[in-house]
Symmetry: C2
Subunit: 200 residues, 2 copies
Amino acid sequence: MPQAIDFYFDFSSPYGYLGSERIDALAAKHDCDVVWRPYLMGAVFKQLGTSPLVSQPVKGPYSRHDLMRSARLYGIPFNIPDPFPVNSVAACRAFYWLVDRDAALARQLAQALYRGYFIDNRNLGEAETVIETAAALGIDREALGAALQDGEVKARLRTEVEAALEKGVFGAPFFIHGDEQFWGCDRMDHLDKWLETGGW
Amino acid sequence: MPQAIDFYFDFSSPYGYLGSERIDALAAKHDCDVVWRPYLMGAVFKQLGTSPLVSQPVKGPYSRHDLMRSARLYGIPFNIPDPFPVNSVAACRAFYWLVDRDAALARQLAQALYRGYFIDNRNLGEAETVIETAAALGIDREALGAALQDGEVKARLRTEVEAALEKGVFGAPFFIHGDEQFWGCDRMDHLDKWLETGGW
């Protein structure tokens, strides 16, 4: 089995969401696993002195149009939520708390959080939304509520974010396969071809 | 015949160069004309407070790797020149001086300038390089030399750059077809599909 694809994303990133709806099928074609790795783009913006694309003048309106157009092209249900963007710390903490206990369920939760935000406009920035979404998957509401404030869980997320930045991750979606990095939905076709050919 | 594609680029943009090597074939598939419109990304950087991708920390090294990998994938000869990036004012002025006299020759010149810079490492930032490249196409060396300092030619370029910014152009390559904008080599597949289907 080929090396897994590391899939980095921010729960608040709409391009990350579009990537999340396509990466598993892409990887499956090549019998390849995907490791979902949510992180906080805020750390990148701070490091690089940048800001979310959708909040930038000129590029912001373009990217909103491009997101809608891309979603229609790929047949992915999508709306630009309100509020947007939001802080996804609670979503990330929930994911990392869960992933050591039940990796498959953590991935289900990630997908449910993304869809809740970008399809059903559920405010991902609020801990209550994260807890409700988890509870609908049978995850213990009180245990998760406590985990979101737990020092070890907080530290775990910080470690994951730092590790992502150390690897040079700076966008969402951002894919790493072996030594190769692929930034953006725009590079999923290159990643696909890379897996098919073994590189060029 | 369908509406022409406006193709905006900066002569110093490597992604613009990669786009320039692919746009004519893409347009020809749809029996569509391409209007080449060089402009100055410096005006965008000034407007938006940004900087060239390749000069940015973290994103810079990634994009250099991505450029080489993309060029190999598309089979386009490509090197990252030195010096890079450069100011492409002389190249732009030469183009706009020529385009009213001989549009086909202006396009030939644009391609020759791009290839000289990104294949043969000829310093596009120097007026002498622009003049030499033009002379090799039979363009009058002295007339061009004078045009590069001509007030009307300078004003023409300023008008073109302002018009591009007013249309919301902010990258290279950047394509406009009707009311639709497509930013980057990454969106040439969407542009292709748009021309094929009439939009979605």
